[in-house]
Amino acid sequence: MNKPYIGVVGAGSFGTVIANILAENNPVLLYARRSEVVDEMLSLRKRGEYKLHHNIQPTNDLKQVAEQCQVIFPIVSSAGFRASIADLSPFLKPYHILIHGTKGLDIDYKSSQALNRENVRTMSEVIKEESVVVRVGCLAGPNLAKELAEEQPGATVVASHFDEVIEIGQKLLRNPRFQVYGNNDLIGIELCGILKNIIAIASGALSGLGLGENSRALLISRGIVEMIYLGKALGGNIEAFIGLAGVGDLVATCFSKHSRNYTVGYRLAQGETLTEIMETMEELAEGVNTTKIVKQLADYYQVGAPITRMLYKILFEDLAVEKALDSLMKIPFTEDVGFM
């Protein structure tokens, strides 16, 4: 029997890498919105710097993706996520399974009130709002696209309220170099992936200042505490944060020079402004948008989130990185961990 096609929506770097992993087990339809990207993939069998697996068929047709694929992986930036799902939505049926790989938040800009959880959505919530699909999951974990593309060993987490989604995700993605864990705390896992990007920018900034591992260790440990406080306020459980998708992903991103978020932080510390950085980056670093949203949520729910707040000032209020670091070091913490 012919194996069914698996859909990937979004041919950015992570989308392409995931499509390549999926293609080891199944034929894949890889959707790109821009036709020139599809043309490039068709003629060169490449997307940017990544080669395409021979099992991948590039396409520009969302209807085809929905009709041929029961399982679809939407992997597009959070800024374009809602629009992508809305475009796909007319073709989606209740039996579809969507496993997204986007680590960002969506805001309802219509509201004039201060941001709170009611007008902020995770990507799985966007899918449920925009389409009839309920069997939703997400990919999270230390998934640095470059390393995965080089076929280095790695692992990911598929999170969903539905066991069948986790099982299908595992079956499709698993290969000898790639381990896939399951988790039922969908929101918690999504929040891990989102919040760690803030800390990753900060980590890049530390490197940009030329600081060493003591300071990064301090950042990572305070960072995970901050993530947990924020995560709890936004509806996740503690457990998710100490697993692969939490600590694991945080460590990988904070140490990685391949990470876009890290790069943003690094360049900030080198004296560039956010506008300058964004002009020269091909894909947006999710952490920038996340910092903006999470800072407002932290204000609303009155969560102590010093790293997020300082980063916000650096990114959007032109605070010098050195000064921010100086203020951070002066925070009188009385306890190391107070939530367990």
């Binding site: 029961q70 939505s89 007319p90 209740p94 039996y95 925009e130 009839v132 309920v134 066991d163």
Partner: protein, 586 residues
């Protein structure tokens, strides 16, 4: 004073949707009762054996059941329990003992024989439960019971409200004046002809069952079957009504798996037979007085299963599958008879419901008759709000019963049960679907809840008292001597006004419903609330004193009625005094 404007449109009377009683699904079910009960037994046996697929596991389950049942008989016997209860379980015990002593060999044939014997014992228990749960619906008694309710209630109502010696035979007031039926009634009537309805009301009082039964008839719908607490069958008067209204019996003391599965099978099969069904998904009555904020999903899950089974069957037979529609209903009272004892229970067992032993407040018939008399002779009103019907995924449905997505596009409900293009049973998936349905129902409760003046005065007063003692926790707060609680009327009025404005705003945004009386002049609305809140309790939760200020005689019941307004964020208007408003960033 006229309490509600009488809305002629809602009381114009509805024609029955089915011409004769013989078409009622519940009649057909009772005519084939033996067949039906057999189906229930088979279906629950199948589920139980799937979870205990060998002799060891099954015997384990049977022993647990036996242990729990014997404990229940000793610790919490009821008048309604059958006389042979002890002997039945003694006999089961004997059989189980024999089974384990005679079983020595472990070869396959002997194991199989062993399993067969255990299955026979299981069947004996399941069969006893199935017969106990099921009750006979008698169309004749239904008619008698219904007219008794209508006649009786109407007499009581007119006797008190219409002055003069002919009042007893007056028809000036009917139940329809007292009970406001609002919301999506037409849609409900349409859908009841196109599929099977599962009605899910909020649950505050033992009166709910009778009330909703009356409303269902009033709307021209055939009788619904519903689970009624076995304790209600303790009282002969109620037992008569319950039996004849199509109630099946639910014994909340029996928490063993065999019983629960049998109960679920009963509900599942009845829905599959096309019987409109009614659950109180909150489980028991709301002890705190809050509108339900979490649901028990067991019986709702049976509707989910029934829907999937209907689709499976239709795939085989080629006929169109019967569709199931969920209709949330919110009941609102100014007054709940059992409020003082409910709130006492709540405070005692807060958060530890599993240790709670079901009690039985209505121990005698005279008590309930006295209550009914009081209830209908005073001027307190009731509202029954029907929410929008939804499919089992919580999607809205149009008048033809088709499921719609948020953009108004038609969805195939059947496809929610698909895996690889086929309908497949996936219990984890269905339990997740049921959880989602539960959330959709709670959301509907929240927006269809009708704010009464009494709820809002109670909320205002309790929050004002709480605000005075920011350092006390709930339990200490409730111990404050009541005679020290005097709320200055002008302050009260200001606070009430602020809240009312907020409630109006929420109403406008479609987030809550309001009773028309709440829109009166502010002082009238307050007076209306004070007059009605906890009207018949011996200790009134709120009163005006001689100086015109507001006092309470019972903080516990005040707390109870206050709780009705929880979950709308109204507390934020009562910031504790003398506290820094914002924690400054260090």
């Amino acid at each position: 004073m006229k309490l509600f404007s009488r809305n002629k449109r809602t009381i114009s009377g509805y024609q029955p949707i089915l011409p004769t009683r013989k078409h009622w699904p519940v009649v057909q079910l009772s005519q084939q009762q033996d067949k039906f009960v057999d189906e229930v037994i088979m279906s629950s046996m199948e589920r139980l054996l799937a979870e205990a697929p060998n002799a060891y596991q099954l015997i384990d389950e049977l022993e647990t059941t036996l242990y729990r049942e014997r404990l229940r008989i000793r610790q919490n016997p009821w008048a309604v329990d059958p006389e042979d209860e002890e002997t039945f379980w003694k006999n089961i015990k004997k059989q189980l003992v024999e089974l384990s002593t005679h079983h020595t060999s472990s070869d396959e044939a002997s194991l199989a024989a062993h399993f067969e014997q255990a299955k026979a014992i299981l069947k004996e228990i399941v069969s006893r439960y199935a017969h106990e749960i099921s009750s006979t619906f008698k169309p004749s008694s239904y008619r008698v019971a219904r007219s008794l309710v209508t006649f009786g209630f109407a007499r009581l109502l007119n006797a008190s409200r219409v002055k003069g010696f002919r009042s007893f035979y007056s028809n000036q007031y009917s139940l329809r004046d007292k009970i406001n039926i609002i919301g999506e009634v037409e849609q409900l009537r349409e859908l009841a002809q196109k599929g099977t309805i599962v009605m899910v009301p909020t649950h505050f009082s033992n009166l709910d069952s009778i009330l909703i039964g009356w409303v269902i008839h009033e709307l021209g719908l055939p009788p619904f079957i519903y689970g009624a607490g076995l304790n209600l069958f303790n009282i002969k008067v109620l037992a008569y009504f319950m039996n004849s209204l199509g109630a099946y019996k639910v014994d909340r003391r029996k928490k063993n798996k065999v019983y629960i599965e049998t109960l679920k099978a009963y509900s599942r099969q009845a829905i599959r037979w096309g019987c409109h069904s009614l659950f109180f998904p909150g489980g028991t009555r709301s002890r705190s007085g809050k509108v339900e904020d979490k649901l028990k999903l067991g019986l709702l899950g049976t509707a989910m299963e029934a829907q999937r089974l209907n689709y499976e069957e239709s795939a085989k037979s080629g006929e169109e599958a019967e569709k199931i529609f969920v209709v949330p209903v919110v009941l609102n009272y100014h007054f709940v008879l059992e409020a003082p004892s409910l709130i006492r229970d709540y405070l005692r067992i807060e958060g530890q419901e599993r240790y709670y032993v079901e009690t039985d407040e209505y121990s005698t018939s005279s008590k309930i008759i006295r209550f009914l008399f009081q209830f209908f002779t005073e001027g307190s009103d009731i509202s029954v709000s029907f929410g929008k019907a939804m499919d089992l995924m919580g999607n809205p449905v149009d008048k033809d019963g088709r499921s719609l997505d948020k953009h108004g596009r038609v969805i195939s409900m059947r496809e929610y049960f698909y895996s690889n293009g086929k309908i497949r049973r996936d219990t984890q998936r269905e339990s997740e679907y049921t959880r989602m349905l539960g959330e959709a129902i709670l959301k509907s409760y929240h927006i269809n809840n009708r704010v009464f003046s009494s709820h809002l005065v109670a909320f205002t007063a309790f929050q004002m008292i709480k605000q005075k003692y920011p350092y006390l926790d709930l339990y200490n707060l409730l111990r404050i001597p009541e005679d020290e609680q005097v709320l200055d009327y002008d302050n009260f009025r200001t606070a009430f006004n602020t809240l009312r404005e907020e409630v109006f705003r929420l109403h406008k945004a479609g987030k809550v419903d309001i009773a028309p009386h709440l829109t009166q002049q502010i002082d009238q609305a307050i007076t209306h609330g004070l007059d009605n809140v906890g009207l018949y309790h011996s200790k009134r939760p709120l009163l005006k004193n001689k100086e015109g200020n507001i006092i309470t005689h019972d903080l516990n019941t005040l707390f109870y009625y206050h709780n009705r307004m929880e979950g709308y964020g109204l507390e934020r208007f009562f910031k504790p005094q003398n506290q820094k408003s914002q924690i400054s960033e260090k």
